[in-house]
């Protein structure tokens, strides 16, 4: 399966699903009862058609030449993207729970050590501490936006 086939199928499914949701929206109690659904229905229809068009295009091209299909094995980049995404989710999860300073320090130092290797720990520590403290101070002192504090130290 090529990436275009996948995109075509996804667009088709999104179009159908979205249209269904648009059609089953609760009717408006004021004005034209289907007014909230009309525009979304047009979008759903458009998306469905685009999905089909992409599939047809892909089929027509496939007849002419072999195309590279998508492999499911993760490349090295894929692996680091997955790791960073996981770290991002953890960061978002702990953003308020641990407070800005601590969660940002932990997030940055782990992403930085992923890219730089542990032997550069001095610069990693410097950048992570500098960034988290700098941003915290900038927002708190200059912009007057209080970022989440640490639960136990109140920082």
């Amino acid at each position: 399966m090529t990436i275009n086939t996948i995109t075509g199928i996804l667009s088709f499914l999104i179009g159908i699903g979205y249209s269904y949701m648009a059609w089953t929206l609760p009717r408006a109690t004021v004005g034209n009862p289907i007014a909230p659904s009309v525009f979304p229905l047009m979008l759903g229809l458009g998306m469905t058609i685009m999905g089909i068009l992409l599939l047809i295009q892909e089929k027509a091209w496939l007849l002419k030449k072999e195309r590279k299909s998508v492999s499911l094995t993760l490349t090295q980049y894929g692996k680091s993207i997955a790791t960073v995404t996981f770290l991002c989710i953890l960061y978002a999860f702990f953003f308020e729970r641990l407070g800005y300073l601590l969660s940002t320090f932990l997030f940055l130092s782990s992403v930085l050590s992923l890219f730089n290797g542990k032997e550069r720990w001095k610069s990693i520590l410097g950048v992570s501490i500098g960034f988290s403290v700098g941003v915290y101070a900038l927002f708190g002192e200059v912009l007057n936006i209080q970022l989440p504090r640490m639960p136990f130290l109140g920082l």
């Binding site: 408006a28 979304p40 960061y91 890219f115």
Partner: protein
């Protein structure tokens, strides 16, 4: 004429306030630095500047962002010239002759001519903008909801159709953006749409979060390859950054020719700086008596695209400011920020808030002067940031994306939404789907639906209102032409090669 002069003097009063000079300098400086860094374009630059502008007030915010925008246009070519890596898409053309010039030991002349060309391109375009903004806004006020709806249809389909890969993919991106804009409580009927029962989605998805997800997070994901590169070697010792008389003789006409070209391409929806720069380059190559020198360090081959891309960046501000319809990713980001500050860009902006609209336009004159200072005498210092390796830079951009998102509503849910859109951006990159139609559609989607429904309300549900006036018919024809033209061109090209 008098009206324009009085508007301009009002604008200058605003722009010359010390605090606003400070903002435009800050914006220009940060924009130049961000523009220089490969992988971070003007849209990302303006997006990460966003949280800084939250407490500035609308005038300061707009001036800072505009400074960041054209600062990035100036800065983008620094890295094209010195390390053969464009800082943003529009600076690609600057690698063709800029890098060969630097290799010949003429980096100083290359840096100087690109800054001078950018300055002239930006300045002339700003002056044109001063004269055209009000007439365009006046024309737009005459538009009824049906015309407005069709204008947005035209702008969006032109953006989708002009995307370089595939028209169908451009439209997929476009519909996705429009779909996202329908999430949340429907303002007219109170019906909750596409929220999946999630309370936080009732207010809709803030478009700035999507922008940060796609441009900041997505860009970092896309650029992972660069992370394992070593430290780049950057020339840090320069002679005086200036050009010879001979250089100027060869460049002045190409600069003046490329400026109007860039400006018009910039005003058109979807085309933007990259296309303007490439068109100007090819145009000069065709006109030149020595086309064989192009690509080997012809100074006019650097001057022309640089003038064109700065002119385009100014031109792109016109539809955003006067019609409320952004024509590029970066202007969409700026519009998102304006909406957040409670300002609706569009024809009424010039009537209701002339100080803001004209303050920004006047600040562009000052900003251009500041940017040429930043990019010539100070360039020697600034290009050192190019030595910062990607493996430090990208984690910091991630950090900025998170804090920028959180600062919008102080909600952790937004952080998760941003991560999701970062991944969507990555998938779109892999599938070769352009992201800018989605960004534009998302930002005008709400207005587009409102105009659509108003038009149907006025006509009592009669669809013929959408082709009932000459303006409507013109817009429909333009829309069809904008879709058919790229397809025909593609078919012709295929026939020619196959």
């Amino acid at each position: 004429m008098d009206v324009i002069l009085s508007n301009l003097s009002l604008g200058l009063q605003v722009a010359l306030q010390p605090i606003n000079i400070f903002w435009v300098t800050l914006g220009g400086l940060l924009g130049t630095v961000i523009g220089m860094l490969p992988g971070l374009g003007p849209a990302t630059g303006v997006a990460v500047l966003l949280p800084l502008t939250f407490t500035m007030g609308p005038v300061g915010a707009l001036i800072t962002m505009a400074g960041g925008y054209y600062g990035a246009m100036f800065g983008g070519s620094r890295s094209s010239i010195l390390i053969n890596t464009p800082g943003d898409g529009a600076a690609i053309a600057a690698t063709f002759d800029g890098y060969p010039l630097a290799m010949k030991g003429r980096a100083e002349a290359a840096l100087a001519i690109s800054a001078i060309a950018s300055f002239i391109g930006g300045m002339i375009s700003t002056i044109v903008m001063i004269f055209t903004a009000v007439p365009v806004a006046r024309l737009a006020i005459k538009f009824g909801p049906a015309e407005y709806f069709l204008l947005m249809v035209f702008a969006l389909s032109a953006t989708a159709a002009m995307s370089k890969t595939n028209v169908v993919k451009g439209f997929i991106s476009l519909f996705l953006g429009l779909m996202v804009s329908t999430v949340g409580l429907d303002a007219q009927s109170g019906v909750s749409r596409f929220t999946f029962g999630i309370l936080e989605l009732q207010g809709g998805i803030d478009f700035l979060i999507i922008i940060l997800g796609i441009y900041a997070l997505g860009e970092v994901f896309k650029s992972f390859r660069m992370i394992h590169e070593g430290t780049r070697k950057v020339q840090t010792k320069f002679g005086p950054i200036w050009i010879t008389k001979e250089d100027w003789k060869r460049s002045w006409l190409p600069i003046l020719r490329s400026t109007p070209l860039g400006f018009f391409v910039g005003v058109l929806p979807g085309a933007g700086g990259t296309m303007a720069a490439l068109m100007a380059y090819n145009n000069e190559k065709n006109l030149s008596k020595h086309p064989e020198e192009f690509g080997k360090g012809a100074i006019e081959g650097l001057a022309a695209p640089e003038a064109a891309n700065n002119a385009a960046s100014v031109g792109a501000l016109i539809p955003m400011m006067t019609l409320g319809i952004p024509g590029s990713g970066t202007t969409a980001v700026m519009m998102g920020a304006l909406l957040m500050l409670g300002l609706q860009p569009g024809p009424l902006l010039f009537e209701k808030h002339p100080d803001i609209a004209w303050g920004m336009i006047a600040s562009m004159i000052i900003g251009n002067v500041i940017c040429i200072i930043i990019n010539m005498p100070l360039a020697k210092m600034l290009v050192r940031v190019l030595a910062v390796p990607a493996r430090y830079l990208f984690p910091i951009v991630l950090g900025l994306a998170f804090i920028g998102t959180y600062a919008i509503n102080n909600m952790v849910t937004d952080l998760f939404i941003m991560i999701i859109f970062g991944l969507i951006g990555l998938f779109m990159e892999k599938a070769d789907i352009p992201t800018s139609p989605m960004i534009l559609a998302g930002i005008v989607g709400g207005m587009m639906e409102q105009s659509f429904r108003q038009a149907r309300l006025i006509s009592g549900g009669d669809w013929s209102i959408f082709w009932g006036s000459p303006i409507c018919v013109t817009l429909i024809l333009l829309t069809i032409a904008s879709i058919v033209w790229p397809i025909v061109k593609e078919l012709k090209r295929k026939k020619g090669t196959g």
